[in-house]
C-alpha cells in the first residue's frame, strides 16, 4: 500500500530563517515552478500552497514589524494555476480563505484550476479569525484573537474551542462555504452541454440547477457559471487541531491534516476523527529538517532567527530513513498520508523527494510511478456523481 505524501509549500520553507540558507526569490514564478517540478519528480500526491488575507507575523493578531523574516505572499489559487501548465500529474492544493471572501468566486476559482490542470485541483478552505484581517475588509468587527489563538495552538484536541461563539460562527460559515462550492460544482451535470444544432440548443438547461443555498452568512442562487470540473468535485482538505475543526473536516473535507506529536497522540486523534467520519482521509502534518546534519542546520537557523523553532505540527530532525520509520509507525496508528512542511527549500524538499521516497520505496510503501491522472485518482477517491443528476 502506497503511503500518500504531500508537501506544504510556503515562502522559503517553514523555518522563519529558511530564506537565509538559500536566499530564493519568493516573488518569482521561477522559484515556485522549480519547487513543484521537484515535488512532481518525487511522485508526490500533491503540493499545498499557504495563504492568508494578511501579512505574516510572529504576533497572533497584529503586525510585528520584523524585518528579518519573509513577509508577503501571492494569492495561492492564482499561483497554483500559474504552476498547472508546467506540471502534468501532481495535485495542486491552494489555500483560500472563506471568511471574508465570496463563496461563489472561490468555487469558480477552484473549478477553473481543475479545468486548467486537467483534474488535479484541491482546495484548503481556511477561516480567518483575526481582527486585524477583518479590518482589511471593514465589514465585520472581530474580537482580538490573542487568547483564543493561544488555546488553538497550545491544546491540540482541546474541547473548549467549540464553546467560543466567534470561532463557532467562523467554522459554521466555513462549512456553508464548502457546501456552496460543492453544490456549485454539481450544478452543471456532466452532460449538460449538448450542442444540438437541430434545436439550436447549446445546453440542456434541465441539466443546469439552481443551488438555492440560504444560510445565516450568505445566500447563493446558482447555477455556477463554470461547467462541472473534470474531477466532479475538486478535493477539499482541512487543517484541524481541535474538536471544532475536526467536526468541520468530518462534515466538509475529503482530507484532514492533523498535528499529532507522537504515535500515541496520532492514535488518539484518529479515534476522535473516526468517531465523526469514517470517510475522511487522515493525513498528519510534520515540519521536517532532513539530512545527516539536520540537527546542526536547525540549530544554526534557530540561532539566526533568535529563537527556537516552534510549530503547531511536530518537528522532525533526522535522516530520511529515520523519518520513514516514523511515518510507517504513525501509519500503524491509522494515519493514511503525510503533509510534510520542509524546514527550508530546496534542501528539505529534495530530501523528501529523493531521500524519503527512496527509503519508503525500499520498504514497499511508496509508488514507483504515477498511477492516475487526477488528484482524486492518486488519493483513491472516487469521482462523485452530481447530486442533482438523479433528481429528475
Amino acid at each position: 500500500m502506497t503511503l500518500h505524501l504531500a508537501v506544504a509549500l510556503d515562502g522559503a520553507g517553514w523555518h522563519p530563517a529558511a530564506w537565509r540558507e538559500s536566499s530564493p526569490d519568493v516573488f518569482s514564478a521561477r522559484h515556485w515552478a522549480a519547487l513543484v517540478a521537484e515535488a512532481e519528480r518525487g511522485l508526490l500526491d500533491f503540493v499545498t500552497i499557504e495563504d492568508a488575507l494578511g501579512l505574516q507575523s510572529t504576533l497572533p493578531d497584529a503586525s510585528d514589524d520584523r524585518t528579518d523574516q519573509v513577509r508577503g505572499r501571492f494569492d495561492a489559487v492564482l499561483l497554483a494555476s500559474r504552476l498547472a501548465p508546467l506540471t502534468s500529474r501532481i495535485g495542486l492544493v491552494p489555500t483560500a480563505t472563506v471568511t471574508h471572501t465570496e463563496p461563489f468566486h472561490v468555487a469558480i476559482g477552484i473549478a477553473t484550476l481543475d479545468h486548467v490542470s486537467g483534474g488535479r485541483a484541491g482546495w484548503r478552505p481556511q477561516v480567518s479569525p483575526r481582527a486585524s484581517e477583518a479590518r482589511h475588509f471593514g465589514r465585520r468587527e472581530f474580537p482580538p484573537l490573542d487568547r483564543l489563538l493561544d488555546r488553538l495552538l497550545d491544546r491540540p484536541g482541546g474541547e473548549d474551542l467549540s464553546a467560543d461563539p466567534h470561532l463557532r460562527d467562523l467554522f459554521a460559515e466555513a462549512a456553508d462555504a464548502v457546501e456552496v462550492a460543492r453544490r456549485l460544482w454539481d450544478s452543471w451535470e456532466d452532460d449538460a452541454e449538448i450542442r444540438d444544432t437541430a434545436t439550436g440548443r447549446f445546453i440542456d438547461r434541465d441539466k443546469l440547477h439552481y443551488i438555492d443555498f440560504a444560510g445565516p452568512f450568505f445566500s447563493v442562487k446558482g447555477p455556477s457559471i463554470t461547467p462541472r470540473p473534470p474531477q466532479g468535485q475538486p478535493v477539499v482538505t482541512v487543517l484541524a487541531h481541535a474538536r471544532l475543526p475536526y467536526e468541520f473536516a468530518a462534515s466538509s473535507a475529503d482530507v484532514v491534516y492533523v498535528t499529532p506529536h507522537s504515535a500515541e497522540q496520532a492514535r488518539a486523534i484518529v479515534e476522535k476523527v473516526r468517531g465523526l467520519s469514517d470517510k475522511v482521509k487522515i493525513f498528519a502534518d510534520l515540519l521536517v529538517l532532513l539530512g545527516e546534519d539536520a540537527a546542526r542546520r536547525k540549530a544554526r537557523l534557530d540561532e539566526l532567527d533568535g529563537a527556537e523553532l516552534v510549530s503547531d505540527a511536530a518537528i522532525f530532525t533526522g535522516t530520511p530513513g529515520e523519518l520513514a520509520d516514523v511515518l510507517l509507525d504513525w501509519r500503524r496508528a491509522g494515519i493514511e498520508g503525510f503533509r510534510l512542511r520542509p524546514g527550508a527549500v530546496p534542501h528539505d524538499l529534495e530530501q523528501v523527494t529523493r531521500g524519503l521516497t527512496a527509503e519508503l520505496r525500499a520498504r514497499g510503501a511508496f509508488r514507483h510511478a504515477y498511477e492516475a491522472a487526477t488528484l482524486r485518482g492518486l488519493l483513491g477517491l472516487p469521482r462523485p456523481a452530481g447530486r442533482y443528476a438523479e433528481v429528475r
Partner: protein, 439 residues
C-alpha cells in the same frame, strides 16, 4: 515622423450569439487548450493583450436559463494566471466586477497576476446594478448608476493605495545582513471612504508594472468620466469611423480635467470582422456568419426580448406578426436591458415592412453586422485609417469562433498592418504598459 501605432487585443469568444458554436470548427469554450490556442495566436501576432469577459450569473429568458448561446466560462484571473505560464509578452486582461468584490482581496489577486506574468496584468473594471446577479453573492443587492461608479472609483483608488503601499525597494532579501524587508518598507494603508473602510498592510511588494493596467468598458456619461479619471484603456462599442471620432474626441477632451495627457488613455473599440480573398467573398462570408449567429431560435429569442412576450409560436422564416409588444416587464435577465422597447419595436416593424424581411432576416439586419468586412488588404487599410483618423487607438477583436477565430487575421492581416508601418513587428517591451505606450 513615425506613424501612429495601432494597438490590438484578442477577446476570447463570449457567451452571446456573436460566438458561433454550430460551425464544425467550433471547439470547447472551457478546455484550457482553447485558451492556449487563442493566446498563442495573439502573441504570434504581437498583440497588446488577451481579453476575458465575465458574467456572474447565467442569462435567462422568460424565467429560464438561455440555452441557445454558448454557456459556461472560467474564473477570469485564474485562467489568465495559467496563460502566463504559456506566453511571454502578451498582456493578460480580465474583467472583474467591482460590485461583488472587496478591494483588499481583488487588489491582491491582480498584483499576484502582475508578479506571476512579469508585468502583463490588466483589470477591466465593470460594475452592475443587477439584483439578479447579486443573488449569487453575500454582498448582493444593487446600487444605482451614480453609486456604482462612485464605488468603482473608490475601489480603484484604494487598490492603487494598496499597490503603492510597499516602497519600491522594500524587499532587500539580504541574507548576510539578515534583512528581508527594509525597515519601514511596508507601509500601512488607512482608508476611510464612503464605500470602503480598510486599515492594515498589503501582502505583496510592488508588482512589475507598479499598478496593473486599468480598463473601463462603460459608455454612459458617468462611464466616460470614470474612464477619464481612472482608466488606462477604454473598451468601447464605437467601432465606426464617425461615431468613433466623436467618442474619441469627447473622451480625450475630458482628460485635461484630471491632469492627464491624451496618450495616457487608449481608446479601443470592440470590433468583429469577416475576411475573404475578394470583397465579394468577404461579403458572402460575412452574410454566412451572420446567419450562423442568428439561427431560427435565436431570431425568436431576440424578438421576445423586445416584444416582452412568448413568440415561440411564430415561424422565424415568416413575417413579423401583428401582435403588439407587452411593455409591462421584460422577459430577459442578465443582459443590458433594452431601453424604450416600444420605439425599438416600431422601428423594427417599419424596417421589416419596408424591406419585406422575415423575422430572422430582420434580426440579422438590426443586430450588429461585422465592423470590418473585406480582403486582408482592405481590412488592414480600414484599421489603419480609423487609427490615423483618431477614431480609435486600436481595436479589441472579437472572433466568432473558438479557438481558431483569430488565425486568419493574424496570418493575413497583421503582416499587412506591419507593412504599413502601423503595427509592431516584434515586442519592444516586456510589460503591458510598455506595449500600450503608457509607461
Amino acid at each position: 515622423m513615425t506613424r501612429k501605432q495601432v494597438h490590438l487585443a484578442a477577446h476570447f469568444p463570449g457567451v452571446n450569439n456573436t460566438t458561433v458554436w454550430t460551425d464544425p470548427r467550433s471547439g470547447s469554450q472551457i478546455d484550457f487548450a482553447s485558451f492556449v490556442h487563442l493566446a498563442r495566436t495573439a502573441e504570434r501576432g504581437t498583440f497588446d493583450f488577451f481579453f476575458l469577459a465575465e458574467g456572474l450569473r447565467l442569462r435567462e429568458l422568460k424565467g429560464r436559463i438561455h440555452d441557445l448561446d454558448v454557456v459556461g466560462r472560467p474564473e477570469a484571473l485564474t485562467v489568465l494566471s495559467a496563460l502566463a505560464a504559456v506566453t511571454d509578452r502578451l498582456g493578460l486582461a480580465g474583467t472583474v466586477n467591482a460590485t461583488f468584490n472587496e478591494p483588499y482581496e481583488l487588489a491582491r489577486r491582480l498584483s499576484t497576476l502582475d508578479h506571476l506574468s512579469e508585468g502583463r496584468a490588466a483589470w477591466n473594471v465593470v460594475t452592475t446594478s443587477d439584483a439578479f446577479t447579486g443573488e449569487n453573492f453575500r454582498r448582493g443587492g444593487y446600487l444605482d448608476r451614480a453609486d456604482r461608479y462612485e464605488r468603482a472609483a473608490e475601489f480603484v483608488r484604494l487598490s492603487r493605495e494598496l499597490w503603492d503601499s510597499w516602497s519600491p525597494d522594500a524587499v532587500a532579501a539580504d541574507p548576510a545582513a539578515g534583512t528581508f524587508v527594509r525597515p519601514g518598507g511596508i507601509g500601512t494603508v488607512e482608508h476611510r471612504g464612503r464605500h470602503f473602510s480598510v486599515e492594515g498592510r498589503f501582502t505583496l511588494p510592488r508588482s512589475p508594472q507598479g499598478r496593473p493596467v486599468v480598463i473601463q468598458a462603460g459608455d454612459s456619461d458617468e462611464g466616460r468620466e470614470f474612464a477619464a479619471a481612472n482608466a488606462d484603456v477604454i473598451f468601447t462599442p464605437h467601432g465606426g469611423l464617425e461615431d468613433g471620432k466623436r467618442f474619441y474626441a469627447d473622451v480625450k477632451r475630458r482628460l485635461a480635467k484630471y491632469g492627464r495627457e491624451p496618450h495616457q488613455l487608449k481608446i479601443m473599440p470592440g470590433v468583429t470582422f469577416a475576411l475573404g480573398d475578394t470583397d465579394e467573398e468577404a461579403a458572402e462570408n460575412a452574410a454566412r456568419i451572420r446567419r450562423q449567429q442568428v439561427g431560427p431560435q435565436t431570431a425568436i429569442a431576440f424578438l421576445e426580448q423586445v416584444w416582452g412576450r412568448d413568440m415561440s409560436a411564430y415561424d422565424p422564416e415568416g413575417p413579423l406578426p401583428e401582435v403588439e409588444p407587452d411593455l409591462s416587464e421584460g422577459v430577459s435577465q442578465g443582459r443590458v436591458p433594452i431601453k424604450d422597447r416600444a420605439a425599438v419595436a416600431a422601428k423594427w416593424r417599419a424596417l421589416a415592412e419596408e424591406k419585406g424581411l422575415s423575422i430572422r432576416e430582420l434580426v440579422i439586419e438590426v443586430t450588429g453586422r461585422q465592423t470590418f468586412i473585406g480582403t486582408p488588404e482592405s481590412v488592414a487599410r480600414l484599421i489603419d485609417e480609423h487609427v490615423q483618423a483618431d477614431a480609435a487607438d486600436g481595436f479589441i477583436l472579437v472572433p466568432h469562433l473558438t479557438p481558431g477565430g483569430l488565425d486568419d487575421f493574424v496570418d493575413r492581416v497583421v503582416p499587412l498592418l506591419r507593412e504599413r508601418g502601423a503595427f509592431r513587428t516584434h515586442y519592444t517591451g516586456t510589460t503591458l504598459r510598455e506595449h500600450l505606450e503608457l509607461a
